[in-house]
């Protein structure tokens, strides 16, 4: 059975980093329309610093690995999105505590846990034009596929598709959280930058397992 260990985590983060670097200007542009335009910069810096950390660390316990990821990411990107992701990583850390490897069921549970932490701290529910709109359907898809014992590649491919679908729906939503909320009705019509980050994260994971 396929397992996720420190090696896979490192690979997945490298792959996500690539997505963020490639889409840096795109994220800046999306965030600038309803916010302050820092998202491309903060995500690039957050994932770059995290990968640097991962490449220099000797740690097998996935709980501790994600704790370090959470801290590093927050230090490198203390913006709203950066902090929310670091909260999600912390949530994942808790459910992987003490384990050196997890199967897809374990991983999808841990991801769900992360998304729940993010929802709880951020106070956003699906449909409110945030990263939750791509993360939540992705988590649901992952849980479903894991229970159905699909392959890693398939699980993450479907998760990416689910995230992509959710992201696209944000175009018609009205922002109620963060800076974008100040723009109210004006925010309608524009794809949410944070939901795009959620999609790119899933895309990064999927590419890793495809390769």
């Amino acid at each position: 059975m396929e397992k996720i260990t420190f090696r896979e985590i490192t690979g997945m983060f490298e792959s996500i980093k690539q997505e963020m670097l490639e889409h840096k200007d795109y994220l800046i542009q999306l965030d600038a329309q309803n916010g302050d335009g820092d998202l491309g910069i903060s995500m690039s810096s957050g994932f770059t610093k995290t990968c640097e950390m991962l490449s220099s660390v000797e740690e097998k316990d996935l709980g501790k690995v994600f704790l370090k990821i959470s801290k590093t990411f927050n230090e490198a990107a203390p913006s709203t999105m950066g902090t929310l992701l670091s909260i999600a990583f912390m949530g994942m850390a808790k459910s992987m505590k003490g384990q050196e490897s997890v199967d897809i069921i374990g991983f999808s549970k841990s991801f769900e846990n992360g998304v729940n932490a993010l929802m709880e701290k951020g106070g956003a529910a699906p449909g409110e034009k945030t990263i939750i709109d791509s993360f939540y359907p992705a988590a649901q898809s992952m849980t479903r596929d894991a229970d159905a014992q699909k392959s890693m590649a398939e699980v993450f491919q479907n998760a990416e598709a689910a995230a992509q679908g959710g992201m696209e729906k944000t175009k018609n939503m009205k922002s109620v959280h963060g800076r974008a909320a100040y723009y109210g009705e004006q925010s309608i019509g524009i794809q949410d930058a944070g939901a795009t980050v959620g999609m790119l994260i899933m895309k990064g994971c999927a590419s890793y397992f495809e390769a």
Binding site: D38, N74, T83, L84, A181
Partner: protein, 335 residues
């Protein structure tokens, strides 16, 4: 971008270096980290610690209020960006003198989340914390959703009250209670005439036309509630005062402290012209003014404009407001 700076990347670091050289006798960097500023003067064991945090570009907010009778520590972010949770956590730990720490900061997404993480983290070290988010900007959300309002210049009064209460050795609940009461009596509203420039961005992130003003604009350029032709000082003050006074109950015989805060580029003369009008409006209603605060207390670099804060006083709050406080950037000694 007309700024007297070196390079945009070192803007915050060099500002902090200047502060360290100038005031290192009274404030210092925690463990040499120039993004965590704490008091360098003795604090009595058992005093409740008061801390804050927030982005740079608003001096004297936030770090300018670290000092005697005000706050004990401040974590400093990049321009208009929150510092990280771990810096906040280190600061909270350093400012716990045995009776817990009040985290008192502006209601902004990034700061809220990071402070939440930080307080969770310090719980592991058995540090008691309380949290108050300042939400004084009446223009940032209607009264029905006052919980979403942003924190602006009224925060300075909150620092003053919390700092004085802590110095009087009230416990964490006591300090929290009185600071919350103060904030229930504080309302702010601003008007901007020209934008500001985040050094790393290099150009204004929003614009205000040459003959326009934006009433209710936030200190990072968040959209206001009324954009229109620049009016006279009296007209502008009248609009803002009407909204503020519609949000807080004030009646004959009440006493308030008025803050007229320059956003950065507005001359003191203009602030005084506004103060004159505010005073006259309140005076006509039989409301008296105590210890006015006129000057620059919470800015947005070179933004021009002013904000008006009313702080309705009772005996307890007046006492705490007048209690001496002194930081390198603030004192009520001559107010």
């Amino acid at each position: 971008m007309k700024k007297i700076i070196n390079n945009p990347e070192s803007f915050v670091d060099e500002t902090m270096a200047g502060i360290h050289y100038a005031y290192g006798d009274r404030i210092t960097f925690l463990n040499g980290d120039n993004r965590i500023l704490i008091k360098n003067t003795p604090t009595p064991e058992g005093k409740v610690g008061i801390v804050t945090a927030g982005g740079s570009g608003h001096l004297p907010v936030f770090l300018g209020y670290v000092g005697q009778g005000m706050i004990d520590g401040c974590a400093v972010g990049n321009v208009f960006a929150s510092p990280s949770a771990s810096k906040m956590a280190s600061m909270i730990e350093a400012c716990d003198y045995g009776s817990g720490v009040l985290c008192l900061y502006g209601n902004y997404g990034g700061d809220n989340l990071n402070f939440d993480m930080a307080t969770e983290e310090v719980e592991f070290s058995d540090i008691k914390t309380a949290t108050i988010r300042v939400k004084d900007d009446v223009a940032s959300s209607p009264k029905e959703s006052a919980g979403k309002r942003r924190g602006v210049a009224g925060m300075v009064y909150a620092f003053k009250i919390a700092g004085a209460a802590a110095e009087n050795m009230l416990d964490l609940e006591g300090v929290t209670r009185v600071t919350e009461k103060a904030l229930q009596n504080i309302r702010t509203m601003g008007v901007a005439l020209t934008p500001c420039i985040v050094p790393e961005v290099g150009k204004p992130t929003f614009t205000i036309e040459e003959d326009q003003m934006e009433i209710g604009m936030g200190i990072h350029g968040e959209p206001g509630i009324h954009t229109g032709k620049l009016k006279t000082a009296d007209e502008i003050v009248d609009i803002m005062m009407e909204i503020i006074m519609g949000d807080i109950e004030l009646s004959e015989g009440d006493e308030v402290s008025i803050m007229v805060n320059g956003l950065g580029a507005t001359p003191l003369e203009e602030q005084l012209i506004c103060y004159r009008r505010i005073h006259e409006i309140l005076d006509a209603k039989g409301i008296s003014s105590y210890m006015p605060h006129i000057g620059e207390f919470a800015t947005s670099m070179e933004m021009s404009g002013v904000s008006i804060t009313l702080f309705k006083l009772d005996d307890e709050l007046k006492e705490l407001l007048s209690q001496p406080a002194s930081t390198p950037f603030y004192t009520n000694h001559n107010k």
